[in-house]
């Protein structure tokens, strides 16, 4: 079943003189329970695309449907992690998470909400920081609180905009595993995830499918199925030949889209060597 259906979506931002086309004729479907990543150069409209799904922006033309219904506005079926900090600085980390839970799971008592909040803060490695205000946390820690909030809200759909961009490699790999675990096992229904990233390894390791976007105007340039079976063991996968072959192709496809970047296999190979180390 299609959870998300985007059909010939275009979006123009109104500007002082005329308008700016951020998305042009984007069509995309995401099946229920699917994990889809979006990669593409900076400014190609990834955040804009998510904002339409979040209900914060409206299509200039085309349609966007969730569960077969056109998106009218924001809804509690979608958990969101913004690219920029989305926490309320006047609430402690725990209260930020609990406030999110309160919105999506109204049946819970305050004590239950706080308990779940603590549980999820622990999962993202912030068990001792529940009483801190966002202003007292580092950027990566704030982002982890925002992730904890989105996950704790237990929504059908997760829309995540570069959630792990500001997080150190050790915590990031831990969060990959946490996200996959929650995606696969947390509730009866598998969550549907749309995940923006600039990190190719992250995209391959996490997703079922990778969408590549290109800029000026923002559009979908390629869709690639990720062939690796689950459960994926990160260390084994990264070392395998198939993985490097796949990644090489992906990078090729990615750089071919970028007109400014010269087609240069040496460059790509040395790039792969660097990250493989």
């Amino acid at each position: 079943m299609n959870k998300i259906e985007i059909d010939h979506l275009s979006l123009d931002y109104a500007e002082k003189k005329g308008s700016f086309t951020a998305l042009q004729d984007v069509s995309l479907t995401v099946k229920e329970g699917e994990f889809v990543s979006i990669i593409g150069s900076s400014g190609c409209g990834k955040s804009t695309l998510l904002s339409v799904l979040e209900g914060l922006n409206h299509p200039s033309s085309g349609t966007v449907k969730i569960n077969g219904e056109p998106v009218k506005g924001c809804g509690i079926d979608r958990g969101v992690v913004f690219q920029q900090y989305s926490l309320f600085p006047w609430m402690t980390a725990r209260n930020n998470v609990a406030f999110g839970i309160k919105q999506s799971r109204k049946e819970l008592s305050r004590a239950e909400r706080l308990q779940i909040a603590d549980e999820y803060l622990k999962k993202v490695g912030l068990d001792n920081f529940g009483n801190k205000y966002p202003g007292q946390l580092s950027g990566g820690m704030q982002q982890r609180v925002a992730i904890a909030r989105a996950l704790a809200m237990d929504t059908d759909i997760l829309l995540m905009d570069e959630p792990f961009g500001a997080i150190d490699p050790k915590n990031r790999t831990a969060l990959w595993e946490l996200l996959l675990e929650l995606w696969e096992n947390d509730s009866e229904k598998k969550k549907t995830v749309l995940f923006v990233t600039h990190d190719i390894d992250e995209a391959i390791f996490l997703s079922d499918r990778i969408i590549m976007m290109d800029s000026a105007p923002g559009r979908v340039s390629a869709e690639i199925e990720v062939p690796f079976r689950r459960p994926r063991i990160r260390t084994e996968l990264l070392r395998s030949k198939e993985y490097n072959f796949f990644k090489n192709n992906l990078l090729n496809a990615f750089y071919n889209e970028e007109e400014e970047v010269e087609e240069d296999n040496h460059y790509i190979e040395s790039y792969i060597d660097k990250i493989a180390l």
């Binding site: 920029q84 309320f88 999506s104 966002p134």
Partner: protein, 312 residues
């Protein structure tokens, strides 16, 4: 070196010296006629009480800023008492009829039977006027600030109305309102409403989009959004108006009571100035000063508490 102040000794410092000087002044004979001979009981009780509080804080080793605050308040009280008694009773430099000595003023202050009633009346007037301005100002300011229909027109109107000195409302209030107490309440309301309303409006209008977007994607309802998102986000702005309104209120409280009141501390001063009773006039001035200091102090504590999440 003292770890708390970084410079002065804990037990031999200006505060202690001031206290000792105050005692040494006691045997000096008075040059004025009205003052009692011997020890100035009220003065020395007051001095001793503040000094003991200072010592207690000093010994109990509270945080540095509590210690420093206590020390400066104690020092100021002792210095003012010392200077005052020297300029009046001990030397007679200041005219006795206009500037009674601290002993006479303090004795009057603590034995005055109508003073508590007047203080209470002023506090009630202030409370009614200011609190209703707070409720209406914040409510209307945030509702209008949240609605998209009103643009800058409201800001122009409030900027204009804010500039009107609230004292001009007094003649209208006297003409329109049935009772004297309601005149003072109304004038305080008018003088604090505009600053509170306009700062709330500006604060709410200026709430950053990222917070509003966060609230939207979390599907936060209208009232929860107002209480949990919009008000906290604009709170420091709102406090600017509240403090300004409070300052106006204090000025207007005494003015209104002096012009059209029949009770309250402003009326107390006005009433005794008709008899040229400068002891009671000074009592009234001191009481107003003390009340304003206490309220301002409490509000700044409240502000610090509510904005404790702000990174310094």
């Amino acid at each position: 070196m003292d770890k708390k102040t970084g410079q002065s000794n804990r037990f031999i410092n200006s505060t202690v010296i001031l206290y000792i000087v105050l005692w040494l002044l006691q045997p000096v004979p008075n040059r004025t006629e009205g003052d009692i001979r011997g020890i100035a009981t009220y003065t020395m009780i007051l001095a001793t009480v503040v000094f003991i509080i200072y010592l207690a804080v000093n010994i109990a080793s509270f945080e540095k800023n509590i210690y420093v605050t206590t020390k400066s308040i104690t020092g100021t009280v002792l210095a003012v008492l010392g200077l005052w008694v020297i300029l009046t009773a001990k030397t007679g430099i200041l005219e006795e009829a206009l500037f009674p000595s601290p002993e006479i003023v303090l004795r009057q202050m603590f034995s005055d039977s109508r003073l508590p009633g007047d203080i209470l009346s002023s506090l009630i007037t202030l409370g009614k006027g200011y609190l209703s301005a707070l409720v209406f100002g914040i409510f209307l300011g945030s509702v209008l600030g949240m609605s998209k229909k009103f643009g800058n027109s409201i800001t122009y109107i409030t900027t204009f109305l804010k500039l009107i000195p609230p004292i001009v409302y007094i003649p209208y209030a006297i003409a329109l309102l049935p009772r004297y107490e309601s005149v003072s309440t109304f004038v305080i309301f008018m003088s604090s409403f505009w600053p509170i309303f306009s700062s709330t409006y500006v604060g709410v209008k200026g709430v950053e989009k990222q917070y509003l977007d966060s609230a939207k994607v979390l599907n936060v309802g209208f009232f929860s959004r107002m209480i949990n998102v919009i008000l906290p986000a604009s709170l420091s702005e709102i406090f600017i108006g509240c403090n300004q309104g409070l300052a106006y209120s204090f000025i207007m409280l005494t003015s209104a009571e002096m012009i059209g009141g029949s009770a309250g501390i402003g009326y107390y001063i006005k009433y005794y100035s008709n008899f040229g009773d400068f002891t009671r006039i000074i009592v009234g001035i001191l009481v107003i000063g003390i009340i304003i200091s206490i309220i301002t102090f409490l509000i700044s504590k409240l502000e610090n508490h509510l904005l404790r999440w702000k990174p310094k």
